[in-house]
Amino acid sequence: MKQFRAFIKKEWFHIFRDRKTVFILFGMPVIQILIFGFALTNEVKNANIAVLDYSKDAKSIQLIQKIDASKYFDVYSSLNRASDIDKVLKSGKVKMVIVVPQGFTQSLEAKHKVSIQLIADASDPNFATTLFNYGTSIINDFQKQYFIEKIPLVVTPEIRMLYNPQLKGAFNFVPGVMAMVLMLVSTMMTSIAIVKEKELGTMEVLLASPLRPLLIIISKTIPYLFLSLINITTILLLSVFVLDLPINGSVFLLVILSMLFAITCLSLGILISSSTNSQQVAMLISLMGLFLPTIMLSGFMFPIENMPLPMQFISNLVPAKWYFYIVKDVMIKGLGIGSIWKEVLVLFGMTIFFLVISIKKFKLYLS
């Protein structure tokens, strides 16, 4: 026990005496949350648009005001000629142009039918689709508000966005960032910490001492497990208080399952460290072999349902995928263990598997 305590104390010294490590451990989660929360968002907010209004009558002006007032769009300029549309889109200053035909109010009231043209810059197709959807929904809304009583039969779809009514990107990326940060702290930092001892030759002395190899591994990883807990707490606090993202499920369950994932990552870190002898290689394997699949195949960036079948199959082998599902279900949908036991079981199985292999592979001997 005394050995264990001394070892952990030594490990803390390593962590806190290296500024770069401290920065990665504590700065990274905060920076990632802030970057994903405010910079890297595919939500549309105050997109600049232009308007070409041929009618300029009461209703058309009302419609345009309504669009301008919404938080999604800003009317950047009013055009006078059709030839300006191409110019203004090419300049890149506006992303969409709304064209209102002549006699807007008149056509509406007489024929109950009028077309409005939405011309979007589709060089970024996702963004264009989003703009188009928002534009359509505002126009539909407008139409309902003013003409519903005049249209005899109409089927109005009532859309409800469950769990995330405001369609906030944070609902998707907070679980993703949690998986990424745990991967970084637990896998990369642990593997580097163990390999560092090999590189500096101190592992040779540790192995020639009465310390049991298992004790060496456990004492090397415990501090990182604790740091993972701190990081999870930081991320959750940031997402609740800075990003206004509520935790709908049990916080306790969320933290416990995050620790389970942290242990999965730790065992992967030990596994990496036992098969390499240099810090650079350990870092490369962690980044290329684990970090990238976490981003690409966990469903965080790209929906797994849209992937070709082989990729969907491979994604099942990525531990982060299961953790990502768990966090989404518990945090956002507010589900309990009863609904996610399958995912938890898979993650648990993976953890045991990696833990057993990595401890078995950790050598009693050098080389």
């Binding site: 030594k10 005496r17 500096l200 030759g201 040779e204 020639a208 009465p210 310390l211």
Partner: protein, 311 residues
């Protein structure tokens, strides 16, 4: 205390198999200071790692303090002190923290065995709050030795402890080792420096995984029976070439500012005359006693000529 029989170890690389040890036998008694002397790559580190249970030999057996290095590795790890070739200290921990850490992992305290390391540790104690990474080579070496001794081991393994350390620190270090030896500690030490061999009770000269000689330094030197001379002139490079052409000279090797030559029936005047004819001036020729290095080089040249014959 340390006993090895037919130890063999080889490493496989992609292209070839490197033989690190070829049937090495050792028998080191309690309280002895035993030196393993040989150049880099001779197999010294492999031998040390096998004896400290860090590496498994391909074949052969070894015991340390009566314990088998394979079966009883855990027990051996409690009894030995090991200082690897590189100074294996935590660079970001202070002198005191390093010592404290190693004391604790060996289930002891600094206070308990302070008497053993007192002389060594007192020299670095003024710097006890300094990080180990900022110490000079000599001080690092003293700290590493303190850490290896803190649990009062029965055998001390020192793998090239003086490599990369200045001459004064090297001398001090050997004095410390002698003192430890006088306290009854068994010490196995390796070094590439031949002059340090004289400090040991017994030495083994090792080259390419083979032990060429295992003897006391005195007996090793006595095995060099031919008369040995040191010679110099105004043109050393030409001298070496010319000496190898002189029939009477058996071997000529550069040793610092002299060339050592040996010959069974040497005639000093003849050699000087012959060299003068070849245009050398300021020739100095003195008979000397052989050093361990002379012995080692002679053994190596024998080995090479044998190999050439067998090929």
């Amino acid at each position: 205390m340390i006993f090895a029989k037919q130890l063999t170890k080889s490493y496989k690389t992609k292209t070839e198999e490197v033989k690190a040890l070829l049937s090495v036998d050792l028998n080191i008694s309690k309280g002895e200071m035993f030196g393993v002397i040989g150049p880099d790559g001779a197999g010294k580190t492999s031998l040390f790692r096998i004896l400290t249970t860090l590496l498994l030999a391909d074949s052969g057996s070894a015991t340390v303090n009566g314990l088998d290095v394979v079966k009883d590795y855990a027990k051996i790890r409690q009894q030995i002190g090991y200082m690897p070739g590189r100074f294996s200290l935590y660079q970001d921990l202070t002198v005191e923290e390093n010592l404290q850490f190693f004391a604790t992992i060996f289930n002891t305290t600094i206070e308990e065995n302070y008497s053993l390391i007192k002389d060594i540790y007192e020299q670095i104690a003024p710097f006890k709050d300094r990080r180990a990474g900022q110490l000079s080579g000599g001080m690092k070496q003293k700290l590493a030795l303190s850490c290896a001794l803190i649990h009062r081991p029965v055998v001390l393994f020192l793998d090239e402890p003086t490599t990369g350390v200045d001459a004064v620190s090297r001398k001090e270090f050997w004095q410390m080792l002698k003192k430890l030896k006088n306290d009854g500690l068994t010490i196995l030490v390796s070094t590439p420096y031949m002059d340090e061999a004289e400090q040991c009770d017994r030495i083994a000269l090792i080259q390419e995984g083979k032990i060429l000689m295992n003897n006391t330094p005195e007996k090793a030197r006595a095995s060099f029976t031919e008369p040995l001379f040191a010679i110099r002139s105004d043109n050393m490079y030409k001298l070496l070439h010319d000496l190898r052409d002189v029939n009477l000279v058996n071997a000529a090797h550069i040793f610092g500012e002299y060339i050592h030559i040996s010959s069974p029936f040497i005639n000093q005047e003849t050699i000087v005359e012959e060299l003068k004819l070849k245009g050398h001036n300021q020739i100095q020729l003195i008979q000397i006693d052989p050093s361990i290095e002379d012995v080692f080089i002679k053994l190596l040249t024998h080995l090479e000529s044998h190999e050439q014959i067998s090929e």
